[in-house]
Symmetry: C2
Subunit: 236 residues, 2 copies
């Protein structure tokens, strides 16, 4: 997936580093900087943490046009609403198409503006898409690197870049395992005097429902039966 | 939506502030801290930016149990895979259920571990859900506040907390507007000698297809017709 993150006129070198880290966690490596105020910078390197390699290969451009020269689609990320621009899409809505283009057609740029002023109208006019991250109208000011993180995350999810986590292989308990456990539990409940076999009520029914919901593992049944066995031996 | 963000044993006060900012941009305000190394702290306040009010109301707890006391579900966010825990869900898969519970049943906690070590097995055992943010296997280390941003964003999107952006009202061009534009364009193309009326080929067909794709506005048609009118007057 050919995705380039373009930071236009970033003021704080720390944000450049944090953006690089955000990109790398989502599997992206192509970082372009347009007129950064300070770069390279020790703070950028510090905040990049394990993604300092992205700073080494980042390209610095004199203009947004130069940064977008080899991209076929540029998506401007902006919280602000503007006149005279393309209709905005939410990031969630835009991500599948952007991922598809970046996978099969050509390079796609995600363009982020200055920390304070955002993308200018001139910058946004160079983008084919206007993408917003829905946010609290009372405080919509995402940190620059946080916006990069969310955008890269959406692209990675849309492209199914990473495997969903798999549960550690576990052996589920069988019906027989659970039945035996319930029999032993009932015996202990009766022996302890808690359960009256003449008037058992719904005690075991509720226990069975609870155990069914829990989705027991074989190992757990073994542990519980061991515990019940110890109680039974005590001749409660 | 009753969502609490719980940061367990955070090392860096700056991350606490950045997490508060991330929360507030997504409309959340309930921040709990378990044994923070340093709090309150000037760096937390600086990085909270316009979300310093969340730090003022944040509660500091001596244990994770205390932070979760009034929550009905706790979701532990962790990139690491573990033995002996609940099967992991991706954040995307988990968000709708968590949002639904937080909207209609009771308080839901999103629990984040220490920056370096993540959630311990003991901490995770206190959570009813194990939620992962899919990430680059070669570098899965999201910054703490970046993880909070992504998780809060997913919850806000799942709950449709914020309106999708609306396009500025625009008047679309009618079929007649576009037909007139095409007629004038064709005339200029012929007058200029570019288009041979005897052998027009597919020029106008391609132009019409392009204009249809662009979805012209009435104002744009007006501007283009003005331009064509000026060209026509020049007697090209």
């Amino acid at each position: 997936m050919r995705i380039r993150v373009v930071l236009s006129r970033p003021s704080h070198p720390g944000n450049i580093g944090a953006a690089a880290r955000a990109m790398k966690t989502m599997g992206f490596a192509d970082l372009a900087l347009v007129q950064p105020r300070e770069f390279p910078h020790a703070e950028a390197t510090a905040l990049a943490a394990g993604a300092a390699d992205l700073l080494d290969t980042a390209r610095v451009h004199p203009s947004l046009d130069a940064a977008l020269a080899d991209c076929i689609v540029a998506a401007g990320l902006s919280a602000r609403r503007r006149e005279l621009t393309h209709p905005p899409q939410t990031l969630r809505d835009a991500a599948p198409e952007l991922a598809a283009i970046a996978t099969s057609q050509g390079r796609v740029a995600l363009v982020f503006g200055n920390e304070t002023s955002g993308l200018s109208n001139e910058e946004l006019a160079r983008c084919q898409r206007f993408v917003t991250i829905p946010a609290n109208p009372a405080y919509s000011s995402l940190n620059l690197a946080a916006a990069v993180q969310v955008a890269c995350y959406e692209l990675a999810v849309a492209a199914a870049s990473f495997d969903a986590p798999r549960a550690t292989a576990r052996e589920a308990a069988t019906g027989e395992d659970v039945s035996r456990l319930c029999e032993e539990l009932e015996r202990v409940a009766v022996d302890s005097g808690y359960l009256d076999p003449a008037q058992p009520g719904r005690f075991m029914q509720r226990i069975r429902r609870l155990l069914a919901r829990a989705g027991l593992e074989r190992e757990e049944v073994k542990i519980l039966r061991g515990f019940l066995g110890a109680l039974a031996k005590k001749k409660l």
